[in-house]
Subunit: 203 residues, 2 copies
DNA sequence: TGTACATCAGTGAACGCGCGTTCACTGATGTAC
DNA sequence: TGTACATCAGTGAACGCGCGTTCACTGATGTAC
């Protein structure tokens, strides 16, 4: 076809992105230890030497996966906020639902992009990507900041609350993980927690 | 000396516990991937085959490390609560400081014991150990539950808030990680967040 | 349009490495008598 | 108290495995002319 959009690889077509997607699947299927260059190559159906043409080693692939993870994470937040009513309260609740949805549907990726990793070179790059997600949260929190108050308090409180609940829920600390739970599931719980926060009237 | 307290190993003295301690150090020094049976053995100074007499494989050592991690975590909570004034507000604040201290001083261990691991057989065992820590938090939260209200709301809110803040702080999301930060560091921040919660008067 | 050529993504064999695990062994410890 | 013995923690060699990485190669693609 045309080649004006992106440089098309000659044989596979889109091996780099395919390897990233395969890596995410391996991560969710078998945890961090299951993410290897050879397994990614096998999942895509190429030889184990092929990834070397697209990534400068395993660390580089991991970084690409984490970047893609942040992109997906941000799309969860934006999609959730855009779907419902656009008043500030609905936006705030929906963005928190999106946060929790991402964590539940992509638990290993969620763990990867927020993992503490003092040793990793990728931390700084991730900081930039993570900043976009933070910005989405910040602007959604803005209407709830009391006049004259430091907006960081509300932002940090909402983010910590949702993030902590998501992780503790995933770790099974609040009972078995069941995304299909009826009645009072994790989404209702996190909204109930949010309703307890002393937020200013959203304007 | 005497042998009436615990069965003393013949040669090393306390190899099992030494391997657990070495494993925790490796974890903090080099991340999850650095935790191997051979490295633990080398760090303790025994042959790489020695651990097989004390652990049934790497997964067994990891489980022992996670159990020890929960024990240390709980001791942080209890020590922090016991040190300061014993009124309910001080207790609640101090237990949250202990929570954050543990996370900052043992970030990899913190990550391990709260890691989502669907695949691990050790999850159930950890659930039991984690329950003790939850109980400490629950009883400290009890005075702040409004009459007639579900105590789970306060417990979950406090726990999620502190846990989420600890993890986001460690991941560098709130700026560089600096335990020696002057003025308004992570401990002051988490207390400020806590002060915003709509808690009943501690009695 | 056709041909010759440069590019480069993917191949398959090969390498060294650290890993978990096994095995027969050694030798210190603790115990039975 | 002394001796013979059973126990078992730790040793060192060996194994097969999956890993990342390299290398010369192949052959399809895209381009220059």
């Amino acid at each position: 076809m045309t080649q004006n959009t992106a440089p098309k690889p000659h044989h596979h077509g889109d091996l780099r992105n395919s390897l990233i997607r395969a890596g995410i699947e391996l991560l969710e299927e078998g945890g961090r230890a299951a993410l290897t260059l050879r397994k990614c190559a096998a999942k895509v159906g190429v030889s184990h030497a092929a990834p070397a043409h697209h990534f400068n080693g395993l660390a580089d692939l991991k970084q690409a996966i984490a970047n893609e993870g942040f992109r997906i994470f941000q799309s969860y937040l934006l999609d959730a906020r855009a779907k419902g009513p656009q008043d500030p309260h609905s936006q705030l609740k929906n963005i928190c639902r999106g946060y929790l949805s991402f964590a539940i549907e992509n638990p290993a990726l969620f763990g990867l992009i927020f993992s503490y990793n003092r040793l990793s070179e990728l931390q700084r790059s991730l900081d930039d990507k993570g900043q976009f997600a933070y910005d989405v949260l910040r602007e959604t929190c803005a209407p709830f900041v009391r006049i004259g108050a430091d907006p960081v308090i509300v932002e940090t409180q909402v983010w910590s609350l949702v993030h902590g609940y998501a992780q503790l829920y995933l770790s099974g600390r609040f009972g078995p993980v069941d995304p299909d739970a009826q009645n009072f599931g994790p989404f209702e719980t996190v909204i109930a927690l949010l309703d307890q926060l002393p937020l200013a009237n959203g304007t």
